[in-house]
């Protein structure tokens, strides 16, 4: 059984690795944005799915990484690869600065503080126009690298999913989840909750930052309103919930299902797709709060670490 799963995984990865050889430009663009969503959803899962701290402003890390990466590419002539990694580092630094105080907040207060963070970041990026171009946005030199960015995004999605696997099957992950279930009890058991919450937060900020850098390079043009939208955070959350939060494969499943669904619905119902999206959210929250995997776990007694 275990071998069969691993073999299927390996074949799947091989097929994805070979896909660009046969794909159209649209296929590549579609898949790389899909990878991006997997990486984002999975990152949100690390903080909110595991520790239960609901980040309502996770796109702030994505936007920060996008701007850091884009600035390094345009004004310092960096290659987009290292620039995006630096974007990830920038996101982690931001997470460190705000995580330390904000993680003391509980429940909806944390959610709202994170929402505020995103708004503040957007305004600051607009304001310091010497560095960021302000509202005019930042235009990167023309480069056609969709093929390479496809692999980079894929690697990011794979890495963060691997990290989720390691965490969920390890003691550290168990500590995260203890915090989610009962923070006071966790504290009583001798878990340094403050430190572990911060770890989870930093981990969950890194990949969105890196992916933001890739995104900026792939788009070739970013502006504050396009990399700090609330809707991106919400989409991450809905993907995770849809697939199953706190699981390894739930965010992947959720991201793939929703993104493919959106793309299919898009072309057909020009004005209705947003209504569908709203209806899906209501549906998931009311009827399957534990997501697809949660339902399957219950019905088929699947292991907790899936």
């Amino acid at each position: 059984m275990r071998w069969a799963v691993l073999a299927a995984l390996a074949i799947g990865l091989l097929l994805l690795a070979l896909y660009p050889l046969v794909a159209t430009g649209y296929g590549i663009r579609f898949m790389l944005q899909l990878f991006m969503w997997v990486a984002l959803a999975q990152s949100w899962n690390l903080i909110s799915g595991l520790t239960g701290y609901v980040s309502f402003g996770h796109v702030a890390f994505f936007g920060t990484g996008a701007y850091a990466g884009a600035i390094l590419v345009t004004t310092h002539g960096w290659h987009w690869g290292p620039a995006s990694l630096a974007g990830g580092v920038a996101a982690v630094i931001l997470a460190l600065i705000i995580g330390y105080p904000c993680l003391r907040l509980k429940g909806p207060y944390f959610a709202i503080a994170m929402l505020g963070l995103n708004e503040v970041m957007r305004v600051l990026v607009s304001y310091f126009e010497g560095l960021t171009g302000g509202g005019s946005g930042l235009s990167l030199p023309t480069l056609h690298a969709s093929g390479q960015i496809y692999y980079a995004m894929g690697a990011a999605a794979l890495a963060v999913t691997g990290a989720a696997h390691l965490l969920i099957t390890s003691r550290v992950g168990l500590r995260f989840m203890t915090i989610r279930e009962d923070e006071i009890a966790a504290e009583a058991m001798g878990i340094n909750t403050e430190r572990y919450k911060l770890y989870a937060f930093l981990l969950s900020a890194f990949v969105p930052g890196v992916v933001g850098g890739f995104f900026a390079r792939d788009q070739g043009y970013i502006e504050p309103i396009s990399v700090f939208p609330l809707l991106t955070t919400i989409t991450m959350i809905v993907m995770v919930l849809f697939g199953g939060k706190g699981t390894i494969w739930g965010p992947v499943l959720g991201a793939v299902t929703l993104f493919v669904f959106q793309e299919l619905v898009w072309a057909r119902f020009l004005y209705l797709h947003q209504i569908f999206f709203g209806a899906i959210i209501v549906f998931v929250v009311l009827l399957m709060p534990r997501g697809i995997l949660g339902v399957l776990q219950e019905r088929y007694r699947l292991p907790r670490t899936i």
């Binding site: 003391r104 909806p108 505020g116 708004e119 305004v123 709203g278 209501v282």
Partner: protein, 292 residues
């Protein structure tokens, strides 16, 4: 390139801030009410405000009668819409983790906004009724904002009288202090939830009706007010009803003063920085959390 700031200018923006603040207070009181009794943060609050605004718009467009009279229709209408939402959807997530209610109400909000776009189109609309200003010395007092201020103060006062003096109001306050104890005392908590959501929707829609006469409206107008109401209730202490009043006034003033001394753009960030500071220094808000 800026201008030197004079006391007159400060006076002018303080007036603007207070006029806006009363409206924020009224709208945020609705959000505080829902949070108080159910611990639910209603992201669709601004969307309900938008529906109120459109009610007023169509009232004025189709009937041509004084738009403020539409309050008489919009308030009861939105009271029932709110109860309907609570009955069918929100009631199911009252005891769930906060993420459920945040997302559920966000889903409701997206769906309603887009239904509004389909039915009303995304065209910007406005109620051209009371424009211009009274000039008092060096100050200009916008007519529509003055009326909005007066109406908001009156409605807020009625709401407070209701919460303090009536039996139902007392039951609502009891529920927001502790729903278990309220239940033990024989209060039908589910019914209280229903009324609270209804009243909150009516308060939001009253805000919408007043806003519709002040500025042009469109289906996506609500989100801003949801955010502002968050700020207000966190500043004042979530679930604390007098706190919502203080928070609203404070937000109005801070926004305007920050726009004057810094820029309109930065004022948005200033409001949020203030929010985070209050959260960190006084996590229960300026007047303490939960209704007293």
């Amino acid at each position: 390139m800026g201008v030197t700031i004079t006391p007159t200018m400060v006076g002018q923006v303080v007036i603007s801030g207070l006029l806006a603040g009363a409206l924020y207070s009224m709208v945020a009181l609705g959000l505080a009410l829902i949070y108080g009794v159910m611990r639910v943060i209603n992201i669709a609050h601004g969307t309900l405000l938008m529906l109120g605004a459109y009610t007023t718009f169509w009232w004025f467009r189709l009937l041509g009668i004084n738009p403020y009279l539409s309050l008489l229709v919009a308030l009861p209408l939105m009271f029932f819409v709110g109860m309907l939402l609570q009955r069918t959807l929100v009631a199911r997530v009252v005891d769930a983790p906060e993420l459920s209610s945040l997302l559920l109400t966000f889903g409701i909000s997206i769906a309603l906004v887009n239904v509004a776009q389909l039915t009303f189109t995304s065209d910007v609309r406005s109620v051209e009724f009371l424009t211009g200003a009274f000039l008092v010395g060096p100050f200009a007092l916008s007519k529509s904002r003055l009326v909005a201020f007066a109406v908001a103060v009156a409605i807020t006062a009625i709401a407070f009288w209701f919460l303090q003096k009536t039996k139902l109001g007392k039951a609502i306050r009891a529920t927001s202090q502790s729903s278990e104890v309220a239940m033990v005392c024989g209060i039908n908590v589910h019914r209280i939830h229903l009324y609270a959501f209804g009243i909150a929707s009516a308060l939001a829609s009253a805000g919408g009706s007043l806003v519709a006469v002040m500025v042009a409206i469109q289906p996506e107008m609500g989100q801003v007010y949801t955010f502002k109401s968050f700020l207000v209730i966190v500043l004042g202490g979530a679930g604390n009803y007098p706190g919502a009043l203080l928070g609203g006034m404070l937000l109005g003033l801070v926004e305007q003063l920050a726009s004057l001394f810094l820029t309109t753009q930065l004022s948005e960030a200033v409001a949020y920085v203030l929010l985070v500071l209050v959260l960190l220094l006084r996590p229960t808000g300026l007047l303490g959390g939960r209704a007293t």
